[in-house]
Structure formats: structure tokens, C-alpha cells
């Protein structure tokens, strides 16, 4: 029995106490509970927590496998034929069948290295990244909508999907990949942090504090669970309410992990770019020219204004995003904003900020200010009076009056303050431009009885949505007007260049804020706070040794380092096991996200450790490990059943044969499109939709009846809606994007048969395939080559031709697209 850690990871100081508790299964619960009370660290003899074996009985996959096969009295099957092999390799690693030409080339390739070269070519294909990404996105519960009842879309979330595809294609070292997921913001890879917030997010907020706290707990639990299962193969989430029943994870560990993520928030933001000396220089030049152009334009505007005669200068018209009212500092305890007219419907304000001399917003509820109103629109948690002065902006945190076109709000400050500026807006996110107060008064009062006008819409230019901000041009002579037009164009151009240099694009990635204290919660109840906990990881492996007030980013970086240290016994084992599963359909540990005592034992523990060490020794290169797997004899064995062997090892876990399996939903759809010749292989960018979207407060999704070339891209580029499943392929065990899915179910159902046999999609592709075959010498022969990568037998030829004679080529294609041979990897 061994105790951990033996590694150079910092040994928790408390572990140095003489008393160690060794845990065995059912005693564990009480053991751990007792341990925490006494402040004693945990230890375990469970295999996956032990350091990787440093000495190996073999080198190379086949040597390990052969030893195990011999031990079971199993004889490995022969090598599969070349056509089967290339089809297998393409389907497994690219999710697409090879073209008949590819097959022929490989069959005739006499080089002794033909297979190795083919493997290299496949791993170099950009479609490799697409294929791996599907698995990774399942594992990271990625989807492009918020989930829960509102289920709104995340239009920029696809950037994380593209980042994952690209990372696989570049063969980004796996340790780097993990670090970018957890702390990409510190590593110039912001988009990686899309991982943290890829899960569901409940946007329905309520004034009920219990609900709000519980929602936040659930958000953090999702980050902890996903981090734990995806990278460590540990069900850390089990320790939310009590110490883990089976694994050495205490409740304190759970809340320490929570402290790591405590500052992570959901949302969309511009992804920052790294500043380079070059971009800095460019920026300086751009700013300079912007100032010059603006000054020039100002002069021209002044000329135009003079020509307008005596009309007094008006302030700009109101707008949705931000309106400022500035006046001489006036002592006040109350502000009242009266709306007399809007551009449409009941007025909406997302924030009303009142600034005192010195810059403090005295209207914030946090500072003790109290809001009242003439009446509030009922029934929308996102539209509440409390949102008027909560410091949060955007439509989702706004106030709406209960009367069309009218209403007032009033804020009483905590004390009389000299106020000098008011900022108000309808939607600072700029998504909504309705419900704007276009005719309004703002008054101030010290006692709430006597009011003085501070600002109003009277001196603003009239609000007109279509108003041309460049109306002044008409007042200028032709030469001056042309000059002004050029200046306007150049200012716009310069501004967008500056924005491009400073901000990257917008993406749904993690947002960060300063975390408050994190406490252990008794039974997971947010109202039952216990002791404060520092940010930390699983102490049984080693502590992060961080202070309570460690800055937010440093917490995540520390965790990322801890996960990717070579001494961490879990990370590499879990990773190579996933690759093994990806290639062979089932892992060496067949509970790929549970390496704890509730999971199963590895069938080949020595092999797993050898692969894990080799993986790290080769710079955490996934392509390196995959190359080993694909070049193994095991991968190249025939998949033919053998009743003698099956009696000993029915699931082929010892790989006496290559285990056949059904393709997943995406690979089926992609293969159908590829066969029909309709597949659009364009990579990256916003996804395609298979739903008509009906955007109410709650978004509804209705499956599209008809698809066309725009939807005939690879399924990885499907705009992935949480919960809702594609009407044809959803039935093939597509994950719904809510839970970590390390292995897809492969169920067989009559609904799958109905969808694949009768859907408009299948019929359309059958028609396209028929058109493609019609032009060939023998449509049947070509059909078998295209769909199965093998020639038809005499019996098949005869049967097919008779069938086509009676029922036509389209029906033949419809049937063939439904056959098992087309839909399975053999």
C-alpha cells in the first residue's frame, strides 16, 4: 500500500503529521469525515492516484497487448484488407469515408511504408481537427445557447469551436491546451476560456436572494464538474454537499476549487489582442490622425452652424446607448426623471446614474439609494425597478414603466450630495432602440417637496431615428462639403482600425471579476456558510498553497499548472485513455471520466502508464500518441467475429480483433453528404442552422423542413442549440449540451430508422447521389465503391439491378444510405 504524494508536488504540511488514514471503500466516508474534523489530510491506495510506473515490462503497444492476449488464451486476428483499413482509418480519424480514388491509390501503393505514410497524411488533414473537436466539445458540454427555459443563442460562441479545431490541427501540446482553457486570458489565448463558460447559464433572475445564490452555486458547480471530469477523470462535483463517498475528495476541496473559479462570470466580450511594439506604434499614428481629422471637421461644422443663422446650438438628440446631462453642481437628495413621450411602447431605462462632484455615482442601490416609480411593467424578472440603479446595464437588467409612453422614476440618495452630472440609457449593449425616452424632464430636490429642473429634452435636437447626423453638410459649399465627407469617412476608417488593433473580435468567453470570500457550505446550502476556504486543488495530490486573497487570474493559473505538472498522476493517464477510446471505441479504462474507485480498473494498467509517460515525454503531443495507436497491429486487425475468441472476450476489449461500431450522428450525416457529392467542406466561421428561430423572451426552435447547400456543411459547424435536437440525427444519441459526455451512447431505435429512411434530408441526398451515379458506366458498381469502398459481389449486382429496374435509382440510393455497412466502422 502506498501513500501519496511521492512526487515533488508540495506535500501538504499537515500530511507530515504522523497519523495517516488509509482508506478502503466503504469505510471511506466516515474515515474522511473524521479526517477533516481533525484537520488531517487524506491519502489513498487507489491505483490512479499512484505515480506512473517508471519501469515498463514492454515498449510499444503491441507487446503489451500480446502479453495480455496470450494470458487469456486469445489469438489475434489477421490483418484486415487494405480497402477496409483505409476506410477504417478515414472514418475513425476524419469522420469521412475515403474517395474511391484514395482507396485505389492506397491498394496499389507498394511502398513498405504505405500505411505509415497514409497515417501521417490523415493526421495532417485539417479534417482531423474537426473530428477530434467533436469529441472534445462533447466532453466540454459545449453548445451555442444558454439552456434552461429562455435558451437564448450565443452568436459568438463558435469561436471557441474554431479554436478547438485549430488547436488539434496544430497539435498544440495538451498541457498548453489545458492551460489556455483555464487561464487563456493570461496566455494570449482568451478564446480558450470559452471552456469555462461553455455550459448552461440560467439568465432568469429574481429578486429572491435564495434563488440568486443557488443559481451562482450551480454555475460554479458546472465549472468544477467539467474541469474535474474532463482533465482529471474525477467526479469532484460529488463533494458539493458532503465529502466524496468513494474518492479522497473532501468537501473542503470542492469549495477550494470553487474559490479558484469564484471570479469567473458568463457573457460575451471583445477578446483582447496582445500588444506588440508594432501595433503600439500603429496605434499612436492612428490616434494622431484621428485627432487632426476631428479638429478639421469641427471647423467645418462651425462654418455650417454660422450659416444656420440665429438658431441656438442644440444638444445632440437622445439615443439608446448613453445620454449625459451636465449642469452646475447642485445639492440634492432626490432626483426625478419624468418621461412624457417615447419613440415606442412603455419607456425603458437600463440605468440611471447620478454623479456627485468627485465622481461618485450616488444613485446606486449599493450606496443606499432607494428607487421608486410611477408603476412597473409586471411579470418580467429582467425588467424590475431594482435594475434601474443596480449598476448593471443592458436590456436584461432594466426598468420598464407600466404605462405606454409615460412614467417617472425617482431615486432618493443616502444623503444630500452636490450632483453635477446624470447619465441615463435605454440599452448600453446597443441591442434595443425602442422604448427610448424622447421627451423628458429631470428634476432635483433636497426635501422631496420642492423640485428644480436640472435638464430636459427641450434643448436637444429632435429625436428622429432616421435623422442624418451629417445634415450640416447641406449648409456647406460644395468644396467644403466634399472635404467634410472625406474627413467623416477617414474618421470612421481610423476608428475601426483602432478598434481592430485594440480589441479582437467579440466572443462568448469567460469574464473575470474580483472574487469575494469563498466559504464551505454545509450540505451545499448557500445560506449555511461555514469556514472560509483558500483557492486550492485536490489536496490528496498536492496543495496550491495559495493565500485567501490571491488575485483571480493567479488562482486559475495555479490550478492549470497543478493539473499539467508531470507529477500529477491523473492528467496524462486520462488523456491517453481518451485517445485510446477515440481510436478503438472503448478505453483501457472504460469509465473515461471516472478514474476514481467507482470507475473500472484498466484492462492493461502497464500499457496505460507506458502510454502516459511516452505522451508527456513527447511534449504532450496528441498526434504522436495517435500515430502509435494507428500504426499498431491491433488497429489493423480484421474486425471479423470469431466465435472461439468471442466466448472469452465478447466485447473485444483485449483487441483480438478491431471492434466494429456504429458511426455517431455527425459522421453519418457527413458521410451521406460526402457520398452524394453535396458536402461543403468550408471550415470555420459561424455555424449553420437547422432550426427556424422564434425569438420571444423565451426562444423557440422549429426544425427546418427543407435544407439546402447552406446546411450541407460538416455537422461540427451546426449551430448547436442546447436541449433541442436535430430532427433527423438528434435521435442518434446526440448529446444535448448540458452534461459532460465522454462516450456517446450507441443505441438503436425505430425512430432512427424512421428518420434515416423517410426524412426529406435522406430523400434529397438520395436524389443527389442518384444524379451522381447516373453519369457513370455502372451506377450499381459506382454506388458500392462510393458507399462501401469495395466492389459489389455478383449477387449484389444482380439484386441491385433488378431492384433499380423496378423501382429506380433514387430508391436504390435511399436504401443504400440506410445500410449497416455504410453506417458502421469495420
Amino acid at each position: 500500500m502506498v501513500t501519496l504524494p511521492h512526487s515533488p508536488l508540495k506535500t501538504p504540511s499537515r500530511l507530515k503529521r504522523p497519523l495517516l488514514i488509509l482508506i478502503s471503500s466503504s469505510l471511506f466516508f466516515s474515515g474522511i469525515a473524521g479526517a477533516r474534523e481533525k484537520g488531517i489530510s487524506l491519502t489513498t491506495d487507489h491505483w490512479s492516484f499512484q505515480p506512473l510506473a517508471s519501469e515498463h515490462s514492454h515498449a510499444g503497444i503491441d507487446a503489451f497487448l500480446k502479453e495480455a492476449l496470450a494470458g487469456k488464451n486469445l489469438r489475434p486476428s489477421d490483418r484486415a484488407d487494405r480497402a477496409t483499413l483505409i476506410r477504417r482509418l478515414f472514418l475513425v480519424m476524419l469522420g469521412l469515408p475515403p474517395s474511391p480514388e484514395e482507396v485505389e491509390r492506397f491498394i496499389n501503393d507498394e511502398s513498405p511504408k504505405a500505411w505509415e505514410e497514409l497515417v501521417d497524411r490523415v493526421l495532417a488533414s485539417p479534417h482531423y481537427g474537426e473530428r477530434m473537436a467533436r469529441h472534445w466539445l462533447d466532453l466540454t458540454r459545449f453548445a451555442e445557447s444558454n439552456g434552461f427555459e429562455t435558451n437564448r443563442e450565443r452568436p459568438n460562441a463558435w469561436r471557441f469551436r474554431d479554436y478547438v479545431i485549430e488547436s488539434f490541427n496544430q497539435d498544440k501540446p495538451y498541457d498548453q491546451f489545458i492551460k489556455e482553457h483555464l487561464a487563456g486570458d493570461a496566455l494570449g489565448a482568451d478564446i480558450g476560456t470559452g471552456f469555462l463558460v461553455a455550459g448552461p447559464y440560467d439568465i432568469v433572475k429574481s429578486p429572491d436572494p435564495n434563488l440568486t445564490l443557488m443559481q451562482r452555486q450551480d454555475e460554479l458547480a458546472d465549472m468544477i464538474n467539467t474541469t474535474g471530469t474532463a482533465f482529471l477523470g474525477m467526479t469532484i462535483g460529488c463533494a458539493r454537499c458532503h465529502d466524496h463517498k468513494f474518492d479522497p475528495i473532501s468537501q473542503q476541496d470542492y469549495y477550494s476549487m470553487q474559490a479558484v473559479f469564484a471570479g469567473v462570470k458568463f457573457g460575451e466580450r471583445p477578446v483582447t489582442k496582445q500588444v506588440t511594439p508594432e501595433s503600439e506604434k500603429q496605434l499612436a499614428t492612428l490616434h494622431k490622425s484621428l485627432i487632426t481629422a476631428r479638429n478639421e471637421l469641427k471647423k467645418l461644422k462651425a462654418i455650417a452652424a454660422n450659416k444656420e443663422g440665429d438658431i441656438p446650438q442644440r444638444r445632440p438628440p437622445v439615443n439608446a446607448r448613453m445620454n449625459t446631462e451636465a449642469f452646475e453642481a447642485t445639492p440634492a437628495k432626490f432626483v426625478r426623471f419624468t418621461i412624457r413621450r417615447t419613440n415606442s411602447s412603455e419607456p425603458c431605462l437600463d440605468e440611471l446614474a447620478v454623479f456627485a462632484r468627485g465622481g461618485e455615482n450616488v444613485a446606486l442601490a449599493k450606496s443606499g439609494a432607494i428607487a421608486t416609480s410611477s408603476g412597473d411593467l409586471q411579470g418580467y424578472p429582467i425588467h424590475q425597478l431594482a435594475h434601474l440603479n443596480d449598476g448593471k446595464t443592458g436590456n436584461n437588467s432594466s426598468w420598464i414603466s407600466n404605462r405606454p409612453g409615460k412614467g417617472w422614476v425617482q431615486i432618493e440618495f443616502a444623503k444630500v450630495s452636490p450632483v453635477e452630472r446624470i447619465e441615463w440609457s435605454r440599452d448600453q449593449d446597443g441591442r434595443f432602440v425602442d422604448r427610448i425616452a424622447v421627451d423628458y424632464l429631470i428634476e432635483l430636490s433636497v426635501d422631496g417637496d420642492h423640485w428644480d429642473l436640472a435638464a430636459s429634452s427641450e434643448d436637444r435636437s429632435p429625436f428622429d431615428e432616421k435623422a442624418n447626423p451629417n445634415a450640416f453638410l447641406s449648409k456647406l459649399g460644395e468644396q467644403e462639403a466634399n472635404q467634410a465627407r472625406k474627413l467623416i469617412a477617414s474618421i470612421e476608417n481610423t476608428q475601426s482600425r483602432i478598434a481592430k488593433l485594440q480589441n479582437g473580435v467579440k466572443a462568448w468567453v469567460a469574464n473575470f471579476s474580483k472574487p469575494g470570500a469563498t466559504h464551505r457550505l454545509h450540505r451545499g446550502d448557500p445560506m449555511a456558510k461555514r469556514e472560509e476556504v483558500p483557492p486550492d486543488a485536490l489536496k490528496v495530490i498536492g496543495s496550491l498553497d495559495l493565500a485567501m486573497d490571491t488575485p483571480e487570474q493567479a488562482r486559475r493559473l495555479a490550478l492549470a499548472d497543478w493539473i499539467t505538472r508531470k507529477e500529477n498522476p491523473l492528467t496524462a493517464r486520462v488523456a491517453v485513455n481518451r485517445l485510446w477510446q477515440f481510436v478503438f471505441g472503448i478505453g483501457i479504462v472504460d469509465t473515461p471520466s471516472d478514474f476514481g474507485t467507482n470507475g473500472t480498473l484498466p484492462t492493461h494498467p502497464g500499457l496505460l502508464d507506458w502510454l502516459a509517460s511516452d505522451f508527456m515525454a513527447h511534449g504532450w503531443s496528441m498526434k504522436h500518441t495517435l500515430r502509435l495507436l494507428l500504426n499498431s497491429e491491433a488497429f489493423q486487425r480484421s474486425s471479423q467475429p470469431n466465435s472461439t475468441a468471442a466466448r472469452i472476450d465478447a466485447t473485444s476489449r483485449y483487441l483480438w480483433r478491431f471492434p466494429p461500431r456504429r458511426l455517431e450522428a455527425g459522421a453519418i450525416r457527413d458521410s451521406m453528404l460526402a457520398a452524394a457529392g453535396t458536402l461543403d467542406l468550408k471550415m470555420g466561421g459561424p455555424g449553420f442552422h437547422l432550426f427556424e428561430v422564434d425569438r420571444e423572451n423565451v426562444v423557440h426552435y422549429h426544425p427546418k423542413e427543407e435544407t439546402g447547400p447552406a446546411e450541407w456543411r460538416r455537422m461540427i459547424y451546426l449551430f448547436k442549440i442546447r436541449q433541442e435536437q436535430d430532427a433527423v440525427f438528434g435521435a442518434f444519441d446526440c448529446p444535448d449540451g448540458n452534461q459532460v459526455v465522454p462516450t456517446r451512447n450507441r443505441s438503436t431505435t425505430p425512430l432512427q430508422a424512421l428518420n434515416l429512411f423517410n426524412s426529406r434530408f435522406t430523400m434529397q441526398q438520395a436524389e443527389k447521389l442518384a444524379e451522381r451515379l447516373k453519369g457513370t458506366q455502372s451506377p450499381v458498381a459506382s454506388g458500392f465503391e462510393l458507399l462501401y469502398n469495395r466492389p459489389a459481389t455478383a449477387e449484389e449486382l444482380a439484386d441491385s439491378e433488378t431492384f433499380i429496374g423496378e423501382h429506380g435509382l433514387v430508391s436504390f440510393c435511399r436504401a443504400m444510405l440506410n445500410t449497416s455497412e455504410f453506417l458502421f466502422i469495420f
Binding site: 466503504s26 427555459e149 434563488l211 424590475q384 442546447r722 435536437q725 430532427a727 439484386d799 431492384f803 440506410n818
Partner: protein, 500 residues
């Protein structure tokens, strides 16, 4: 080559294809296909060994034996989406009537989902004694009220959340988060189905659209897709069920026969591979469904008096149209139960067309106006369904469950004439096989705000339902991501008091 005529004969087909190594491969294949899940079986916290049903991948819906002698074999769940008010239906509180218009003690400090409370408000519909038992039910649902003697009320229901999405998730899946299997999926996973040419589990959404949690309510979560609810109603058929446009029946049948010949030829090289055999079988079942589902959704064979009874024969105004549409769904539900479908889930209310309160039970603003539409739509058809099931002897084996994601407040919301969400005390009822009736269990406080007696969690609720089906809620499990998952998480106990 196999004679295509044989293809529609399942038993004959079985003897052809599942032979040789099939038997051996079967058990172990299950593990790989995730039907059983992997992971080591070990005792649960309750000291019980999990039971993962043994499933034939070729026939995942084959009937399976429960853990103990069942009292009911089928479930009909009537789900009122949007949170039906117990205050205005089943939960009679004389004190609320007495203190009508007065502030609720402590109400000023109470923040519910949408905020502050107004005063206590008695129901605008009068409570009257119903049936032999004299159970008090309001005039909102008079016909259902008259069947109170058939019902076993759970007045002390409690939820965990006061938002609809998580609430409906909780009531349908036992978890507030998205992504967990629905109760119907758990039931079919455990028991399969008696109906071999219909889906084992059917969800009948309201004609106006889906409930707030949409497909989560009948989703498979992490269970294999075989156990998800198939959703259709009397107005909207199953997708991809009919023969594609432009294809004749003869060609369709011939195409399937050709497909199966090709699959069989291929199977000869993979003798005994049960995944392949399962696919062949699934096309046979699909073919049978293609006949049986249109047959079951075609209500033309129903006599006039049935249509009348269910309110499905009248139309002409909004209420009548909606009632007729819901009535037709109720008839469909009975037909499915009659045919042995294991779990039927019938929805009243949708979020799709009008949001809050307009087409579902979410009565925040003007509850009187809103429920004056929903009440009559629900009442007659549901009552007819219950009576019809009884007269056909179907209640002998069917457990009827009436529920909603949570209840509503005994106060009106401040500034509105409707009620806010209330997960702290609400009512569900059961009827039919396995439960006492007439019977009332549990109670809320004097106003119908908080459950105080026989407090029933959603876990208790499902522990009891599973128990009636002969299933031990602590043992029925599926291994997922390191956890032996249950419908009741790690909670719940059977409410013995209500068992017949």
C-alpha cells in the same frame, strides 16, 4: 437470401439472426453500448446494490420484470405547465377566505420570484363540496371536482426552485439542472413496454407548443436515446413517419425489403454481431410503427358520444377550439394507454404562444381572466379521460398523476391581480392503480402558503410512483460520469400512507 415476407415477423426474424455468438456477445455488448453503463456496481449510500436493468440491444423496449410485485403497470401523467394554482383549485383554506384582503403575516418581508407581496386573496372561484367524500374543490374545475372520490391528493408538495425552467426540470427529471433523464425515460429504461409496435413512452404536448422546459420534460438525458419520449399529439404527427412524397407504397415496401436483404448479406460476414441484428430489427419495428401510429392518432373511429364527452366535438370560439384540441389529445392518451404504452405524458399549457399566463398556467397578472380560459379547457376533457379510463377498466393497471412545476401564492403580487410562484406548498394528485381514493395526504398552513404536514418532496413523489410500478427508487440506477444516477438523486422515501 431471406424471403421478404418473413421480415415482418419478429420471432421468425429473431431465430434467423440472433444466433451463434449472439447470446454470448449480448450481455457484454450492453456494457459497451452504454445500455447498461459501465462502472463497478457497489452499494449506494442507502446500503443497497444498484439494479441496472438487463436490456437486449435488439429490443430495448422489450417488457422487463420490475423489482417487486407492481401495483400499476402504466403511467398517465397530466402536467400543467406554468404552475397551476392550488389556491384556486384543490387546496381549501377557510382562513384565507376569512382574512381576504388583509396582509399576510410576514408577507411584507417575503420576496418571491417577481418581488413583493400584496394582500391575501381568496380564490375568485367558489369552493364547494364534491362527491361522496365532500372534498372541497373550486368551480374552476367542476367536472374534475366531481371526480374527487377517485383522487388521492398530496397537499404538502414542495419544490426546490421558483423558476419555471428549473422547476419543470425538477418535476420531470428530479434535478433542477438541464440534462437529466425524465421520469418517463427512467420508467421505460426499467420496464420496457407492453406495446411492441408503438413507442414505449409518448409525450403529448399542448397543441399550442411545448412546455417551458421544452424537450427536457421527456428527454433521455444521459440514458440511451432509445428511452426518450416520442412526442406527437392528435394534431401533429410523428416526424418522418410517413412515406416520402412521390414514393408509392409498393416502392417503399420494396425499398425496405432490398435494404434488409443488403443488411442480411452483410450480416453473413458478421454472424452474431448483435448491433447489426439490432439495426435490422429496428427497421422492422419502424415499419410497424408506420402503420400503427397513424392508426392510433386517427380518431375517426371514435364514436360521437366519446367526442362529445371529451368536448372534442365543439368549436367556434377560442375556448371551445382549445378545448376540442386538448380533448383530442386526451382521447389519444386513452388510446395509447389502452394499447399498453408504458408512460404517457399529457401537457396542458405551452410557453410558445404568448408567454406568461396567456397560454399556460402562469397567472401573474390577471389570474381570473387567464384561468377563465385555461379552466374550461382543462376540466371537461380531463374529467372525461379519467371516467373513460375507469369505465374501460384501465385504472386497474394505470396510475394517473396530475402535477405542475410548483404552486402559487395565496397573496396577489403587489400591483397585480395574479399570484406569484410558490414552491413551498402546492398540490398534486394521483388516481387509479396503487393509491387510496378518496384520500388526502399532507397539508399547507392556514393560507396555502407553506407545506406543514405530510411535507412531500419531488423525491418522495417519485419514490412513491416508482414503488407503485414495482421499482425500488434507491436501486434503479444508471452509471454516468462516475455516479450511480437515480431519478431521486440521493433522497426520497415512499409515502406509505397513500398506498392502497
Amino acid at each position: 437470401m431471406i424471403d421478404p415476407r418473413h421480415l415482418l415477423d419478429r420471432r421468425n426474424f429473431l431465430s434467423h439472426s440472433v444466433s451463434g455468438l449472439g447470446g454470448v456477445a449480448l450481455a457484454s455488448l450492453l456494457g459497451r453500448e452504454g445500455l447498461l453503463g459501465a462502472g463497478r456496481l457497489r452499494e449506494s449510500a442507502a446500503g443497497k446494490m444498484p439494479i441496472r436493468p438487463s436490456i437486449d440491444p435488439a429490443y430495448p423496449h422489450a417488457p422487463r420484470i420490475p423489482h417487486t410485485e407492481p401495483r400499476a403497470k402504466q403511467v398517465l401523467m397530466i402536467f400543467c405547465s406554468g404552475a397551476i394554482s392550488q389556491v384556486d383549485t384543490w387546496d381549501f383554506k377557510p382562513e384565507l377566505i376569512k382574512r381576504h384582503g388583509q396582509p399576510m403575516p410576514g408577507g411584507d418581508k417575503l420576496i418571491t420570484f417577481q418581488g413583493q407581496q400584496g394582500n391575501l386573496m381568496k380564490s375568485p372561484w367558489e369552493f364547494k363540496p364534491r362527491g361522496q367524500s365532500g372534498k372541497m374543490v373550486t368551480d374552476l374545475l367542476p367536472r374534475l371536482g366531481n371526480l374527487a372520490d377517485e383522487m388521492c391528493f398530496l397537499h404538502g408538495m414542495t419544490g426546490k426552485t421558483n423558476t419555471h425552467g428549473p422547476g419543470e426540470n425538477f418535476m420531470c427529471t428530479g434535478f433542477t439542472l438541464d440534462g437529466f433523464p425524465s421520469a418517463g425515460a427512467w420508467t421505460t429504461y426499467a420496464l420496457g413496454s407492453e406495446a411492441d409496435d408503438l413507442p414505449a413512452y409518448v409525450a403529448i404536448p399542448d397543441v399550442r407548443g411545448t412546455p417551458q422546459s421544452s424537450v427536457n420534460c421527456w428527454g433521455p438525458g444521459f440514458l440511451p436515446a432509445a428511452f426518450q419520449g416520442t412526442s406527437f399529439n392528435a394534431a401533429k404527427p410523428v416526424r418522418n413517419l410517413s412515406i416520402p412524397n412521390g414514393i408509392t407504397g409498393t416502392t417503399d415496401a420494396a425499398t425496405r425489403a432490398f435494404l434488409q436483404r443488403q443488411n442480411h448479406r452483410h450480416l453473413q460476414n458478421h454472424v452474431g454481431d448483435s448491433q447489426l441484428a439490432a439495426r435490422i430489427a429496428s427497421y422492422e419495428l419502424a415499419a410497424r410503427m408506420q402503420l400503427s401510429i397513424p392508426e392510433i392518432t386517427d380518431l375517426n373511429s371514435e364514436p360521437d358520444y366519446i367526442l362529445r364527452e371529451y368536448g372534442a366535438d365543439e368549436s367556434g370560439n377560442k375556448i371551445l377550439d382549445l378545448r376540442a384540441a386538448y380533448g383530442r389529445n386526451c382521447i389519444l392518451a386513452r388510446r395509447l394507454i389502452e394499447r399498453g404504452v408504458r408512460f404517457v405524458q399529457l401537457f396542458s399549457g405551452a410557453y410558445q404562444t404568448g408567454g406568461e399566463g396567456v397560454s399556460n398556467w402562469d397567472g401573474h397578472k390577471k389570474i381570473k381572466e387567464q384561468y377563465d380560459i385555461h379552466g374550461p379547457v382543462l376540466d371537461q376533457p380531463t374529467a372525461a379521460l379519467l371516467k373513460d379510463l375507469k369505465s374501460r377498466g384501465l385504472l386497474e393497471d394505470t396510475l394517473v398523476v396530475f402535477c405542475s412545476e410548483f404552486g402559487r401564492m395565496p397573496t396577489f403580487q403587489k400591483g397585480a391581480s395574479g399570484r406569484d410562484h410558490n414552491p413551498d406548498g402546492f398540490t398534486a394528485w394521483l388516481a387509479g392503480a396503487g393509491v387510496k381514493a378518496p384520500f388526502s395526504y399532507g397539508a399547507t398552513d392556514e393560507f396555502s402558503h407553506k407545506a406543514v404536514e405530510g411535507v412531500t418532496s419531488v423525491y418522495d413523489f417519485y419514490a412513491t410512483i416508482l414503488h407503485i410500478l414495482g421499482l425500488d427508487h434507491e436501486r434503479l440506477s444508471f452509471y454516468h460520469n462516475g455516479i450511480e444516477r437515480r431519478l431521486t438523486d440521493v433522497h426520497g422515501g415512499v409515502i406509505k400512507e397513500i398506498l392502497a
